[in-house]
Amino acid sequence: MLIVVCIKQVPDTTQVQIDPVTNTLVREGIPFIVNPYDTHALEEALRLKDQFGYRVAALSMGPPNAEATLKKALALGVDRAILLSDRVFGGADTLATSNVLAAAIRKLHDEFDRVGLVLCGKQTIDGDTAQVGPGIASRLNFRQLTLVDRIVNLDPVGRKIRVSRKLEGRHEIVETPLPAMLTVVRELNRPRYPKVPMRLAAAEAIVEVWNNQVLKLDEQSIGLKGSPTWVSKIFSPERAKGEILGDGYGDPEGTAQLLVGRLLSQDLLAL
């Protein structure tokens, strides 16, 4: 059985700047990381590999420099890393993105190994839509289990999976037959740290690149053309500038009193 993990390269900062003209994220000069939720999906796939001997493939759609993200996955121990990269994939919204990812998963299923599980982070920290995972599931007609914080049981013989979903104020234990798509939250596990020999091997490994000549998707369903969502405006909400009260270093007691007084006066604190 093959487990596919979908990962995304995202800019590493909470202070993403927005280009006021194009309404897109400014990506220049910002270091990229693997979307933090995806690292937990990756970790869970690798644990299932360690436990059951399944194979793991990592998929990422993005520009050529997203290769670095897949190399990180290789350093952690995935068996295959595939970059879905083509100019015609660019500008995609969540629908177009899930079309491409689903097509790649289908291809892996047909030509490499039967796909039993697709794991995704619950959302990415740049787009925050949480739509791509479910989008893939519906395109592949897989069961979808979102917000998973624990795999309770995976039954390889009966081909079913039971998970715990982290919902607002409660947990839900659900079971479904495979194949299934899971989106995962941070509580699921603690990602492993790459071993140096694996990092060195990953640095030398070649990441497979699939473009649309490989996937042969209708250009109307991918990229900008395949994206019904149009962003009309992105902006950072204006936030009142903070204020430094007193001198906490020289007079901690007086400053604390000042702070309490201010909080009381603004009705942010009640005695």
């Binding site: 590493d12 900062t13 909470t14 202070q15 270091p31 990381i33 603690r190 990602p191 492993r192 740290y193 790459p194 071993k195 140096v196 020999p197 990092r199 060195l200 091997a201 030398e204 270093y249």
Partner: protein
């Protein structure tokens, strides 16, 4: 009365053969180690060996060292007597008596008195080991057995000479044998031949026994300690060797033969004196680390696995693990790399590099380390600071000042602020104080701002050499590109890393710790000081390990305190090279202390014994550890200040 060569000669030949075989079997295991050049500077090495091995400088530094000094020199001098004894036993015509009387008689006197001194010294050693051992486990059978053997040798020596005197021999020498002469008066002349025979054969058997026990006991150090001093690291052991990151290499050490030959010789040189464990902040506060234990486990592992490895077989005992002959992971992670163990070791064993090598294996090959470190490693790799704060925030401390970017054309010094000075709210006050002092003194300086990166100290000491290597390369490239040659640091960890570790990357910088810079500014009269309103009260100074012990900077911060407060700092019980770590070195800053008591509390309590109003530090980690420790013991009336803050009070008013 003469010995019996027909019995003694074969006994001696067999004993020497077994002794040689025993020594060879153990010492040739050293050759299993990786190569390392310790053959440079021959003259200097000879000097160090004379001073530390023969002069016993470090042995004498502890109160009981004089006793070992007496035993050591007695042993050397009595080698003359023992060599004669063995030769005489085989060839009865060979004897010191053949020497001219003017040489022979004084020599007899020396040997007679030295033997008595040695007897007294082993007696004292035995009493000490019972009454006040260096550490409780030092009361071993082995120790008493060896002391007993030496005592018996001395007694037998007196018995041989005494019975000869009682028999009417050596009459001319009698005045030169005060001790043996006294012994003779207790021996009836009729039984002198039997006393002689008993004394002689006791001496013979015990000497050969001692010789053959030696390679199998901690007394192997008699053979290894002297060369170990010769091969000591001539620089401070304040850094660790680089690793080459190419595919197929193994990283760190998890098998005894991956250590260098000198590391292996270290393990065979350990005398189990316990100085290291009595200096170790981790061990003293109840952590599972004992530096002596680390050396013992490496030695046991070498003796067990060495012969197998020699034959190309698989080792049977893991180097890292539980049980005798294995170093526990808990011990490996407890080290603060403060270097106190290495500073007191009389034979220059280097404990810390071995611990870091084993950490490297755990991190790089096994990815197994205390879980707190996962965030640290990722933050260091991703954002080049321990907290994972956005690098764009690095220069925020300077918001209220006018700070220039470093430019080789317009600024002389790079002020390398460091992560704590840039991001830690308490330490940012130190950064500002230092910046203002430099401006006041008219120093031309600039910063790298958001381009500054972490020096990588913590990751290197924690064994994440792969990440350190990347960080060091980036920094070295950045410094070269910007034309940095003179650097001011306010953190001893940055200081030592830039100065000592980056040298391995071919970057020679003039690195100045801010305490040295401020000392120079004071000396040169570049700061107008007014201590009339100094409000620091009694100020006790805490030495940072990476400034003091690792880099020998002891006086500069003290002079700055003197200048800033008008009085010399108060000293703690353990100060300068004996100072006790704050607990944050070696990456321990980022880890929890799960076992024992907290190291910073031990040091805070030691400082409070001096009833200070102010505790002065010279390191951001020490700052954090003391601030936290004082809160924990609720000593809220005592404040912690960096040397720069103290001087700023007098210079900036």
């Amino acid at each position: 009365m003469t010995p019996n060569p027909t019995i003694f000669t074969p006994l001696l030949i067999v004993s020497l053969g077994i002794f040689a075989w025993g020594c060879w079997r153990r010492l040739n295991l050293v050759a299993l180690g990786a190569s390392e050049n310790r053959f440079d500077s021959f003259g200097r090495r000879m000097g160090e060996m004379l001073l530390y091995a023969f002069g016993q400088k470090r042995v004498l530094a502890s109160p009981f060292g004089i006793n070992h000094f007496v035993i050591f020199w007695s042993f050397l001098i009595l080698l003359i007597a023992n060599t004669e004894f063995m030769l005489h036993g085989v060839f009865p015509f060979i004897s010191l008596e053949n020497l001219p009387a003017s040489l022979y008689l004084p020599l007899l006197l020396v040997l007679d008195i030295i033997s008595l001194l040695a007897l007294a010294a082993v007696g004292i050693a035995a009493v000490r080991r019972i009454a006040a051992p260096p550490y409780p486990e030092a009361r071993t059978m082995e120790a008493f057995f060896i002391l007993g053997l030496i005592a018996v040798l001395m007694l037998a020596y007196f018995s041989i000479n005494g019975s000869r005197i009682a028999h009417g021999e050596m009459t001319a020498a009698l005045p030169w044998l005060p001790v043996s002469g006294r012994v003779a008066s207790f021996i009836p002349s009729a039984s002198a031949p039997s006393f002689y025979a008993i004394g002689w054969w006791t001496h013979a058997v015990v000497l050969l026994l001692f010789m053959n026990y030696l390679p199998y006991s901690k007394h192997l150090h008699i053979l290894t300690a002297i060369p170990n001093c010769f091969f000591r690291r001539l620089e401070q052991p304040n850094t660790q060797p680089r690793e080459e990151f190419t595919s197929g290499n193994e990283f760190g050490v998890a098998r005894v033969d991956r250590f260098s030959w000198k590391d292996l010789l270290d393990s065979l040189s350990c005398t189990e004196c316990g100085r290291c464990q009595n200096a170790c902040p981790a061990g003293i506060t109840g952590k599972p680390l004992n530096p002596r234990g680390i050396m013992h486990e490496i030695k046991v592992n070498l003796l067990e696995n060495g012969p197998l490895l020699k034959r190309g077989e698989k080792p049977v005992r893991p180097l890292i693990g539980e049980g005798e002959g294995s170093c526990p992971e808990g011990a490996i992670w407890s080290c603060t790399t403060c270097g106190a163990c290495m500073g007191v070791c009389p034979v220059f064993i280097e404990h810390v590099p071995k611990i870091v090598q084993m950490r490297r294996n755990l991190v790089e090959e096994e990815a197994r380390f205390p879980e707190e470190l996962l965030n640290l490693f990722e933050n260091m790799e991703g954002r080049s600071n321990p907290w994972g704060i956005a690098p764009t925030e690095r220069a925020k401390w300077s918001a209220t000042l006018e700070v220039k970017p470093f430019d080789r054309e317009t600024t002389e010094y790079l002020f390398y602020v460091g992560c704590a000075g840039s991001f830690d709210s308490r330490n940012k006050h130190v950064t500002v104080a230092l910046a203002q002092l430099m401006d006041r003194a008219g120093i031309s300086w600039g910063i790298l701002g958001k381009d500054e990166k972490c020096c990588g100290d913590s990751v290197r000491r924690l064994g994440n050499e792969f990440v350190f290597d990347r960080m060091a390369r980036e920094n070295v490239a950045l410094f070269r590109e910007r034309g940095v040659t003179k650097v001011i640091t306010q953190c001893p960890h940055c200081f030592s890393t830039l100065k000592n570790d980056y040298r391995q990357y071919g970057l020679e910088l003039e690195v100045i710790h801010h305490s040295e810079l401020l000392r120079n500014l004071v000396r040169d009269g570049r700061l107008a000081l007014d201590t009339s309103a100094a409000a620091f009260g009694a100020t006790v100074f805490h030495d940072s390990c990476y400034l003091g012990r690792h880099n020998d900077v002891y006086d500069a911060p003290r002079e700055v305190i003197q200048a800033g407060t008008g009085t010399a700092p108060v000293e703690m019980g353990r100060n300068r090279d004996n100072a006790f770590c704050c607990g944050a070195g070696g990456g321990r800053m980022w880890m929890e202390e799960h076992a024992g008591t907290r190291i910073n509390l031990a040091r805070v309590e030691e400082a409070l014994q001096q009833k200070p109003d102010t505790i002065c530090v010279s390191c951001p980690y020490c700052m954090t550890m003391f601030e936290d420790g004082l809160k924990d013991v609720k000593a809220e009336n005592v404040r912690v200040r960096d040397v720069a803050e103290i001087l700023a009070e007098a210079a900036l008013r």
